[in-house]
Point group: C2
Amino acid sequence: MPDLSSRQVSQLPPLQAIRVFDAVARHLSFTKAASELAMTQAAVSYQIKVLEERVGAPLFLRRPRQIVLTEAGQRLAPAVGEAFAILGQAYAAARAGADGLLCVTTVLTFASNWLAHRLGSFQIAHPSLAVRLETSSRMTDFAREDVDLAIRSGGGKWPGLEAHKLLDADFTPMLSPKLAASIGGVNEPADLLRLPILDPGDIWWTEWFSAAGVHSHDLARRPGSSMGAQAYEANAAIAGHGVAILTRALFKAELADGRLIQPFDLVGDDGHAYWLVYPEARRNVPKIRAFRDWLLAEIAC
Amino acid sequence: MPDLSSRQVSQLPPLQAIRVFDAVARHLSFTKAASELAMTQAAVSYQIKVLEERVGAPLFLRRPRQIVLTEAGQRLAPAVGEAFAILGQAYAAARAGADGLLCVTTVLTFASNWLAHRLGSFQIAHPSLAVRLETSSRMTDFAREDVDLAIRSGGGKWPGLEAHKLLDADFTPMLSPKLAASIGGVNEPADLLRLPILDPGDIWWTEWFSAAGVHSHDLARRPGSSMGAQAYEANAAIAGHGVAILTRALFKAELADGRLIQPFDLVGDDGHAYWLVYPEARRNVPKIRAFRDWLLAEIAC
DNA sequence: ATGACCCATAAGGAGGCTTTATGCCGGACC
DNA sequence: GGTCCGGCATAAAGCCTCCTTATGGGTCAT
């Protein structure tokens, strides 16, 4: 079978010279080609000479008022024009395509509790941008996945990435009002231990109870879900299945309409936060800038 | 109407980077592409990075054992391959075409009296070379005419051109035996003046008569043809219309078979000669080398 | 005859491209 | 589970291509 995976290097011409040849062949003028290419006429002359040496034949006849293509030039010019047309089109399409599809991965919680409600306004503001939203618990590696931006939680320091803090990942217990009423109301932190604790292995529980001055060493032994995603725990809490420890900013709506209540003002904060991240090098890519600017503005509201 | 004569420069990608991208996309490996392109893996990495910055999006995902094309890369790769295929083919064709057609201009005399008889052996020796033979009295300007080699007479010094001496342009009177018999034989130079002199304005006549010690100041006043091409004068001489002054080497055949006779051993030589010339810069073009080598070998016989 | 236009050429310089050298990461293989 | 290996990334340094400036030659037009 023919070896499609190789291409003889020697059969490809010097590309810079070919680009110049294309311009000259269209204008039939070194000077005009030079101005199109934004270089000097001398440079054009040089490149044509180089190409003529490589081809082994003159490509233009130098007539007094104008130049004309030799036979060799006539054979070459149409193909070169076609090749550059294809190239230019594909390159432009790649740039446009690269500008037209925005791929964002986020942690599930942020997607469902914050982003989902607001993404519409971004789409309206940028109708030419298609957004592909993926949720993933893995930390995305921009070198391995075809992703433009990510929203993740963490400390905010990742090498090679630019990070903007979106929300502090604070945490405080939340539960449904009905569940609270079922034990006659939750009046002090220790009351919570009388209820099912959702994801009791979460370090947040330990930290919060300790901050609240409540002994809770038996937490890890409790049966629990360890779902690890606030959205799931929140749904369980709303359904009255137990107490969840959640980030306030992500459940403003639920707290406001009473689906969840926050029984204590005490809020834990381990310094983690939700961050918007993307490769430093792509800081100025238009679609990335657009999403970043929109998201930071929304957050500021 | 669309301006077909211009092409936005900005829409063309950096070509060297594109060439590298093509190789990488085919191999799906930086290292293998580097070896195809005969450069280092680091250089490939650099070029891909450059292109990715220009496109505004990553083109490859770096996975542990291999790389894969991103969406942007997948859009770009087929078109790039196609463009290079067209380019490579056209370039190869131009080179081959340039090698396949040999264009020679010669002065008429040399063509008809020397070259015509022998060109066949060149064609046999180089069956892949098509020869286009043009005759022209003008001195060909290689910058203005699509010509590979020229045969011309002169002093052998032309700037920018390489010249090989073919024949000395000596000269001596010749005529048909019948014409000589018509005046009872040509026994001494002055006898010639009793016959029609073909092209009497030719400086060669003056020089030859003067070398022969014959007074000939009335030559220029004689009616004559001044055709300026030996082939014509030779034909007239063979037909018995007069005496021509010709170069021996070009009429060996006619002298041998008696269509012409050379009545005197005295031969003039003004230092001119027939030369094979071609642009110095194209000294090593295969077809030029082939023709030159063949012609010089033929001459040496 | 002189000016205008166009291409060719030489010399000089900047920067893109390449190489060398090294690091990092992940997988494979004991 | 440590070590090796394969593959890409990165930094520094040198080269060489390519471009510019400057000038010349040749032709056509005024």
